[in-house]
Symmetry: D2
Subunit: 390 residues, 4 copies
Amino acid sequence: MANKLRVGMVGYAFMGAAHSHAWRTAHRFFDLPMTPELTAVAGRNEQAVREAAERMGWNSVETDWRRLIERDDIDLIDICTPGDTHKEIALAALAAGKHVLCEKPLANSLAEAEEMAEAAARAAENGVLAMCGFTYRRTPALTLAKRFVDEGRLGSIRHIRAQYLQDWLSDENAPLTWRLDKEKAGSGALGDIGAHSIDLAQWVTGQRIEGVSALTHTFVTERPVGGEFVGLGGHGADADAEKGPVTVDDAAIFSARFSDGAIGVFEATRFALGRKNAMRLEVNGSEGSIAFDFEESNIVHYYDARDDAEAIGFRRIIVTEPEHPYVGHWWPTGHGLGYEHGFTHQVVDLVNDIAAGRQPTPSFADAAQVQRVLDAVERSAENASTWREA
Amino acid sequence: MANKLRVGMVGYAFMGAAHSHAWRTAHRFFDLPMTPELTAVAGRNEQAVREAAERMGWNSVETDWRRLIERDDIDLIDICTPGDTHKEIALAALAAGKHVLCEKPLANSLAEAEEMAEAAARAAENGVLAMCGFTYRRTPALTLAKRFVDEGRLGSIRHIRAQYLQDWLSDENAPLTWRLDKEKAGSGALGDIGAHSIDLAQWVTGQRIEGVSALTHTFVTERPVGGEFVGLGGHGADADAEKGPVTVDDAAIFSARFSDGAIGVFEATRFALGRKNAMRLEVNGSEGSIAFDFEESNIVHYYDARDDAEAIGFRRIIVTEPEHPYVGHWWPTGHGLGYEHGFTHQVVDLVNDIAAGRQPTPSFADAAQVQRVLDAVERSAENASTWREA
Amino acid sequence: MANKLRVGMVGYAFMGAAHSHAWRTAHRFFDLPMTPELTAVAGRNEQAVREAAERMGWNSVETDWRRLIERDDIDLIDICTPGDTHKEIALAALAAGKHVLCEKPLANSLAEAEEMAEAAARAAENGVLAMCGFTYRRTPALTLAKRFVDEGRLGSIRHIRAQYLQDWLSDENAPLTWRLDKEKAGSGALGDIGAHSIDLAQWVTGQRIEGVSALTHTFVTERPVGGEFVGLGGHGADADAEKGPVTVDDAAIFSARFSDGAIGVFEATRFALGRKNAMRLEVNGSEGSIAFDFEESNIVHYYDARDDAEAIGFRRIIVTEPEHPYVGHWWPTGHGLGYEHGFTHQVVDLVNDIAAGRQPTPSFADAAQVQRVLDAVERSAENASTWREA
Amino acid sequence: MANKLRVGMVGYAFMGAAHSHAWRTAHRFFDLPMTPELTAVAGRNEQAVREAAERMGWNSVETDWRRLIERDDIDLIDICTPGDTHKEIALAALAAGKHVLCEKPLANSLAEAEEMAEAAARAAENGVLAMCGFTYRRTPALTLAKRFVDEGRLGSIRHIRAQYLQDWLSDENAPLTWRLDKEKAGSGALGDIGAHSIDLAQWVTGQRIEGVSALTHTFVTERPVGGEFVGLGGHGADADAEKGPVTVDDAAIFSARFSDGAIGVFEATRFALGRKNAMRLEVNGSEGSIAFDFEESNIVHYYDARDDAEAIGFRRIIVTEPEHPYVGHWWPTGHGLGYEHGFTHQVVDLVNDIAAGRQPTPSFADAAQVQRVLDAVERSAENASTWREA
């Protein structure tokens, strides 16, 4: 069994499906030192979890995540539940000596996140490793963007602009879901999608956000309870349906200063009609720029200021070459990857790190730092946008 | 076993990897009436085929495809070998009562293709079904394009322009591979990639190509033998290496007339420097147009002539909505798919058709018709581009 | 002479060339009630102003703008000088009963702008009209965007995001010019280009900015004096050249709340390497969105949420149809316009308004309101980004 | 008068307006050795030509082009009439010692074009110069493309693909105009727009087309007589209106071989619904590629195969830098030009050549070579697409 990594997953909705696919697929395309085994999945509703296990390929089920953690035949706990449960599960798993992969945002509050980071640091001393699932880091185009910064291609970084634009709440009758409930979700667009932008901006540039000024807004303050979900949004909620309060932000805007002098502007919203998953990042340095939009996820645009003056322009790099991160393991040049490949690459890196006894990234400490920024954003928004340190 | 579809695959290179992924994955995201089982894979080199089976998830191996066909525990033969072997394998499989999925192009000559189509027609009478793997039909954006034509959104079709542009042979020192050998590959860019364009143009428009005028060209007539393959192309072939002849076309251009009055222009090349997998299709009708480029495979552009005059323009449809073909089974809106999803969708459709006793498409007859066009192209090119019926 | 509009222009640099072209050209393509006459141009250096007059087509010259205003044969004063001179010239011209076209930003301070607006209001009572040159309003794609909002196509406006990105100061050795001197220019990127974004955002949406939170930054605090100007930036400044202080912002970021509930995010910079004149505006409403980028100035993207679900996407409208604003007077469909056409359209509208005795827009009051926003941005930036009313 | 170039123009429709603008404007932005004077314009209808002269800025009128040619105060005849009149006017003008600028296509037949080229060659011996108005050569992005080829950036040229796509005849009720009458126009899409593609493809690559295989088609064989023209197309023609025959091609497709071994594919149509003026040119060489689309006329895309493998991709060059052809005379970086600038640049080059006694390009001989290709296309199309030498 030494060459297996036995996984127990908690939760089996959208994120659970993506994670399951990654656990099933990684070793089919990459040489891994340990082969993931989909040992067990946990969920409260036994019938539902059995059906999910069957569909997603898990060998067994549990109806209590505590039982999952107690099992001897599991090496790693993969947490795919809403944010309000992360801390309790992660702490129990780490205490039981299980490695942990926890979906983002790490927690619903800074205090929780810091407690988790501390627990992870202690566990790491015993070789028990924890990672937070900011999966977009493993989109090859973004991994390449970071490589360009690390190689010095951009020179000194001046500007970061990060937008995460979706539109699935534009319809005022889209139903009230757990993602609109502060208790479950912690925050709205800010934590759900803005957290990705924060993580990526810091990771790609290698700079930390040191302070922010923020504005948040809720456009639709109550929504119908019930209604059918379709895609991320929903249709057909009855106009006469009972309504419940939206307790999170619909949109968040903030400016930021970074540790090495760059300035940034961020926007996260689920009301940008027509933008489906426009997770955009642009970085301008003294020697070059990069620009990315997840709506064209296999492309990164790169501007090299050293190109000769008559032939200079953003290069549209199709990130499918053997020289590019991850993609040489997949298809020939020009045959693009999809959303779920980031999850597969995350498994690849995590398994390699675990086998090597190496801290995977982003660590819980990294994720707690993102939470610190989220917290500063909320504090500034509540205080007339006044500057707040992160 | 009634709810299993037991698959035996021949060949395990690039196409084999894509097919294996599809067989493993389809039932994880779609409700299928039969669950694919990766029963056995066949290849001549025992060690290599064992390693491939391990990596790709096949339960057993054979070193002779004939043995695979003889096995009682296999329902379907999946042919992923070069074109010169398709006929023999397919005929044997059909004769043995196995369903067949055969990679494109169906054969290396029209005569072979027609023989295969006849065999498939006979087999179908006994409920044994055959399909050719023109996978791009299952790219959701292209499936949607066809739906638009079928719905009458484009009106009467006038223009088809189809380009399939790659660049992996631009380097004169890219090594000589089986794809450059007429014996193995049948033709060059024409059959390898042009065949996709022909199939799609006919399928999307619902019109058959009735005649063509063509020009083919070989830019680099000999290439180094050996050298390391990287991606589709290759690097580092020694300039002093022995050279062998390229016996296929590097590029093919042809014009066409379609059965309902449309005219078309086609180009296939592996020398379009900078174009990695630009499989493009544009169709202009009397009421609308659609345009697609595989380099942005999740997008189709649609022009509706009935839009009001001041607000008219190509609509950039991100084909990730629940209303779109296939994609509702995957990720939320805006989270794109990759190259391999077409293969998974192909499995979905094929399994559903087999379970229903329904002819899958494209049938061998459909594929033979593509071969008829390829044949007409070659005949025209050899005869001063003079018009040839297809 | 009743059907002439006799123009006297002050200043003859970049803006002077653009204005001259517009005065010469407007009546060649549009039916105007009065034909502009390029009566005189004023500048301090007699030889230079004579050469400019010859080149730009002005009939006479003055070396003192006061003399220009005194002339009986001039109906309108066109102010194309740096912002520190606007107030004095405009007030004198209005007092002398001359109509005024004044380049933006209206002034270098809010106090000046308000004084000018008051003067313009008084002059208007006597039929003397004043207009500020926020020329981008007359880019057909942006005029169309406003029309779409006015027609209700976007529904209720929620988001505005406006970026004005240039890169001509990225080079640390680009020379110190008047645009980097607070005395001459008032502010940096904020007033020079951010002012355009503010005006457009308010004009297109029909909403006023009521408050802001801002951050400004100067990346390069001193620059070489002298050096040759090329384009907007400059080359070849000696690394050993004497340096002088940059006293304006290099970049400005701010969030805003609009009068009818929309929220906005703005960024203006001349350090976005690779972005040459990316004046971008996106507006998201409850029923539709529009997006514009001046780097593709003949295009506007429009999303109509009422399109059917499988065929929905941003429409790429090429704004060159007869139904579109202004463009029917120029070239056939698809033959785009350039930067200077906005100036010509500005002349068309201004001449029509003057002939009709109608207040042209933007009025000095409109421009003073932009100045009010600029002022609030500066006050917020100086006060830890704390919210400031505009 | 030595420093004036006195121009007489024949015809004053769309092309006349564009040429007039260029004659008025060139010396305002460029230093010219001779200043154009808009001396006289000729047209048959006196009232109409007087109105045109007034609007377009011509000093006098003639109602017979022969009288224009006889005038002593005219140095150059600018021919802006339909193609059936080009030969007679040009020959008379050259015989009278006037320089000639003649709109494209040079003539309606090869025989006429060759006669014109011979006349121009004879005239040139006496210092009388002739030029054909393939204006797109002076679009800065295309001039830059040629420069790249000339500099060797593309290496050895392999592929040319040229599309000229419009849609103004898509509506079957668009009215019958002179452009649809073979007598007046010579041919349809082929000569009207395909001629541009041919000229550009040969000029940019420096290779001549040596042979072609072609297909032409007329989709709508009769159209209503009368009806109102709007833009290039028309609206509101009565469905019951009398109809007349369309005697030209609606679309032309052809493949070509070039003198140095490149192959090309061309398509010209006015039925590509949604494409407004998509004059596209892509050239692939052994070292690089360029791609252009007039719908984004200020952009050229350039791929440099020598870029490092992880950072390679088409560069989107915004052709507005001081280093780029022509544009340094206009606006700052990023402020694009429009359709008519090509005409202004044509005047600049022509005036410089005339002043220098240098043959301007394209010469009538160059234009006759284009006509030779058009002729070969028509001969091939009439002969089952069989290859025809050009």
